[in-house]
């Protein structure tokens, strides 16, 4: 028994060094060497300022930008407090919140479901192509751009399924909006 306790303590300490320090440091070293940009979070810098990460969604609510999905991360898109709403399908709070979002987004026909539902992480960087196309007429009007130009921009930003098979088609909202700004400087 006493021998087993000694072994357990020594074993724990030695494997902590191997698994808790050696292993993550080795992964970090190789990652930095091969995939530096990815390891740091695919950060986007514009004019010397950090404007976000290509993988992390940002809130967009004004008419001039494509809107992201509702978020339950902190006060909304707080990337230090990721979270879903965790509201049940039968929750009154969910139905009320969805109705409020529908009132904001409504622009013709029924609103694509992802645009009025909160994501799992609260940081979803994407909307569906349906949700992006749904907003084209509003954005075009707010920016006095031809609808066709904005539509083409959206289509250029659609990421297809990986290898044509995995996941779902999607549009990265931050990248799309940055491209919008690059196209037509803020008036």
């Amino acid at each position: 028994m006493k021998k087993q306790i000694t072994i357990a303590i020594l074993y724990t300490l030695l494997t902590t060094v191997l698994l808790g320090v050696g292993y993550p440091l080795a992964v970090t070293a190789v990652a930095r060497l091969l995939f530096h940009r990815q390891a740091d979070g695919e950060l986007i810098v514009r004019d010397g300022h950090l404007v976000g990460s290509a993988l992390i969604g940002q809130p967009f609510t004004g008419p001039r930008y494509f809107h992201s999905r509702p978020s339950s991360a902190g006060a909304g898109y707080d990337a230090s407090a990721s979270s879903g709403s965790n509201l049940a399908a039968s929750s009154k709070a969910l139905i009320d919140r969805t109705e409020a979002s529908v009132a904001v987004e409504k622009n013709g026909g029924p609103v694509p479901v992802d645009l009025v539902t909160a994501s799992a992480s609260g940081l979803d960087p994407d909307i569906t192509p349906a949700a992006a196309l749904y907003q084209v007429s509003r954005v075009a009007a707010a920016r006095s751009l031809p609808v066709k130009v904005v539509e083409e921009l959206v289509e250029k930003h659609v990421t297809e399924r990986q290898f044509g098979l995995l996941g779902e088609p999607r549009v990265n909202v931050l990248e799309l909006n940055l491209a919008l700004d690059a196209m037509a400087p803020k008036s």
Partner: protein, 587 residues
């Protein structure tokens, strides 16, 4: 539901079955201490570890010694994690200057990670320093998975050996599982994950300037400007890899595998799901090889695959349905959206990959999530709950899934024996009353803890019910799911409720503890007893455990035991919620 969704699911099943054979054969080599191609690297580390700790690698342990060594090791690692959490304020790699973790959260977390549960009642981004994540938590992802592997191998030896008093050496099994299996595969997985965008760094949290500044509602009707976004970072990929491979499931971030830094692309999602099933599926092959009946291993694998396919089909169907109470919302499937129930799901995964992930993570005892189970449709959420309540034996946790399944195999063989009025045999071993008693003990502890604690919680309005995020039958589902997840050492949650209270931290801690250790002891007792027995030659009255008939009987026993035990509770939770939701009732 879409053709593409089904193709992804079928591809996943095909790859799991394809990888089981090579992975299982490799594990047989590793645990039978035969030559492998990694000996040149791992051999010297193994010998050094034995020399420094004083382990006698040739010593064979009885089941009681094996259990005691396992319990002592688990206790020591638990204490270490508790201390690291409490003292993190004074330790390095604390870029956000986080204080020590409060005592009840620290204890709950230490138990949670020791038992391979990875239940998390805290928000990692604002609670755990990088050092705590690496040294206190990621280490447990290796240890608890290696312990599970060792126990499964010990159980298999119990079946395979004849007239033997011993089951192997715990320390040797632990070491070989870690060095030959978990560490190298994790390393490769981690690098693959980084290449897709899973972060791996020690940066302080970054601050980005928002492209469009926002107004946030503040207190007293005042609104304040939000102009920046704080982006949490960390050594995520290294932890993500072993979190999935070891079926641990504890997220580096609060949103777990839904967080874009943990799971940025459909490919990482696919890899993470495969990593969950890789070792549990492989272990069925290891079982077949070590007991000298590869066909038996395949029969068990077939039973698991059937239960998995039924679960994922039900979940995918349910999640593809529109919410009947949402109006003016386009919820159908089209070329431009996956449609269905998108609350609590990420666009890049859509409904198919969220349903698949939810089924995989609860079939195994992983508990990582890429979508919020709490926001699933009532019947969609029922699938992960039932998976856990069946005992997580469909592939199951690393090791724990196999020995849980083998207990059901013992019961199935026993029932088959009763039907023909003969003493049941399992691979030449007579199954006697002691084995059946221990199996029943194993099976009964589980519902006793879940239903017992759930019943107590429901009867305490202030401590038990006030924390719930959702009212009505869904509230009961949240409590049931919490104790099922804890006792089953899963760790996923209907996560909306505030489980970070004294009552839930403590009772869930006890449930996790019992669910792991109290169930291991009867399991090892069966193994020790089986190892002692003689082999009787098969006769015409022997029920073969290699046939499709056996597979179906096993599936039947699992479903009947699970249904008889939990049907009343489930009716009052998800089933009732489904009926009321479709009658237009909200809570």
């Amino acid at each position: 539901m879409s053709l593409n969704g089904w193709l992804q699911i079928l591809l996943f099943i095909a790859l799991v079955l394809l990888l089981a054979q090579p992975v299982g054969s490799y594990m047989t080599q590793v645990f039978e201490r035969r030559r492998t191609w990694l000996d040149g690297v791992c051999g010297p580390v193994e010998r050094l570890l034995y020399r420094l700790t004083g382990i006698d690698a040739e010593y064979e342990m009885r089941w009681t010694e094996y259990a005691v060594a396992m319990l002592i090791f688990s206790a020591v690692t638990l204490v270490l994690t508790y201390l690291v959490e409490r003292l993190q304020g004074m330790l390095p790699l604390n870029t956000q200057h986080l204080p020590g973790v409060p005592a009840d959260v620290a204890l709950n977390t230490a138990i949670s990670f020791t038992t391979n549960t990875n239940w998390q009642s805290y928000v990692p981004e604002t609670t755990m320093s990088y050092l705590t994540q690496m040294v206190g938590l990621a280490t447990h992802n290796f240890w608890s998975a290696a312990v599970g592997l060792a126990l499964a191998i010990a159980f298999v030896r119990g079946i395979a050996r004849r007239e033997s008093r011993t089951l192997g050496n715990f320390w040797v099994d632990l070491t070989r599982g870690t060095l030959w299996v978990l560490l190298p595969i994790s390393f490769v997985l981690a690098i693959a994950l980084v290449s897709q965008g899973v972060v791996q760094n020690f940066r302080p949290y970054d601050t980005a300037t928002l492209v469009e500044p926002q107004r946030a509602a503040g207190t007293g009707g005042q609104s304040s400007a939000v102009t920046t976004q704080t982006i949490a970072q960390g050594p995520v990929a290294s932890q993500e890899a072993i979190k999935m491979l070891g079926t641990n499931g504890g997220g580096f971030f609060n949103a777990n595998s839904a967080h874009p830094f943990e799971n940025p692309t459909p490919l990482t999602n696919f890899i993470e799901m495969l990593a969950i099933f890789l070792l549990p599926a492989g272990l069925t092959v290891t079982l077949g090889q070590m007991v000298g009946s590869p066909k038996h291993g395949r029969a068990v694998l077939a039973a698991m695959t059937i239960l998995f396919a039924v679960g994922v089909t039900a979940c995918y169907w349910a999640e593809s349905q529109p919410n009947p109470l949402m109006h003016q919302v386009a919820q159908g499937h089209s070329e431009q959206q996956s449609g269905g129930n998108m609350e609590g799901k990420e666009v890049r995964f859509g409904v198919a990959n969220s349903a698949l992930f939810a089924t995989v993570t609860t079939d195994a005892s992983c508990g990582a999530v890429n979508a919020m189970h709490d926001s699933f449709t009532p019947l969609g959420g029922l699938v992960p709950m039932v998976n856990i309540l069946l005992g997580e034996i469909v592939f199951g946790g690393v090791g724990a899934g196999l020995y849980g399944m083998l207990v059901f195999v013992v019961i199935s063989v026993f029932i088959a024996g009763l039907m023909v009025g003969r003493t049941p045999e399992y691979l030449g071993k007579k199954i006697e009353s002691y084995d059946v008693q221990m199996s029943m003990l194993y099976l009964l502890i589980f519902p006793l803890v879940i239903l017992g604690f759930a019943a107590v919680s429901v009867m305490m309005p202030s401590t038990g019910l006030s924390v719930l995020a959702n009212k009505g039958p869904h509230g009961l589902s949240e409590i049931l799911y919490a104790y099922a997840s804890a006792t089953g050492n899963n760790g996923s949650a209907f996560a909306g409720s505030n489980w970070n209270t004294h009552w839930y931290n403590d009772s869930i801690g006890v449930a996790m503890f019992i669910g792991r250790f109290l169930m291991i002891v009867p399991m090892l007792a069966i193994a020790g007893n089986l190892a002692r027995k003689k082999i009787v030659p098969a006769s015409a009255g022997t029920f073969p455990v290699t046939t499709p008939l056996f597979t179906l009987l096993l599936v039947g026993v699992i479903v009947v035991v699970g249904a008889l035990t939990f049907f009343p509770a489930i009716s009052l939770g998800p089933v009732l919620e489904h009926l009321l939701l479709h009658a237009g009732q909200t809570f």
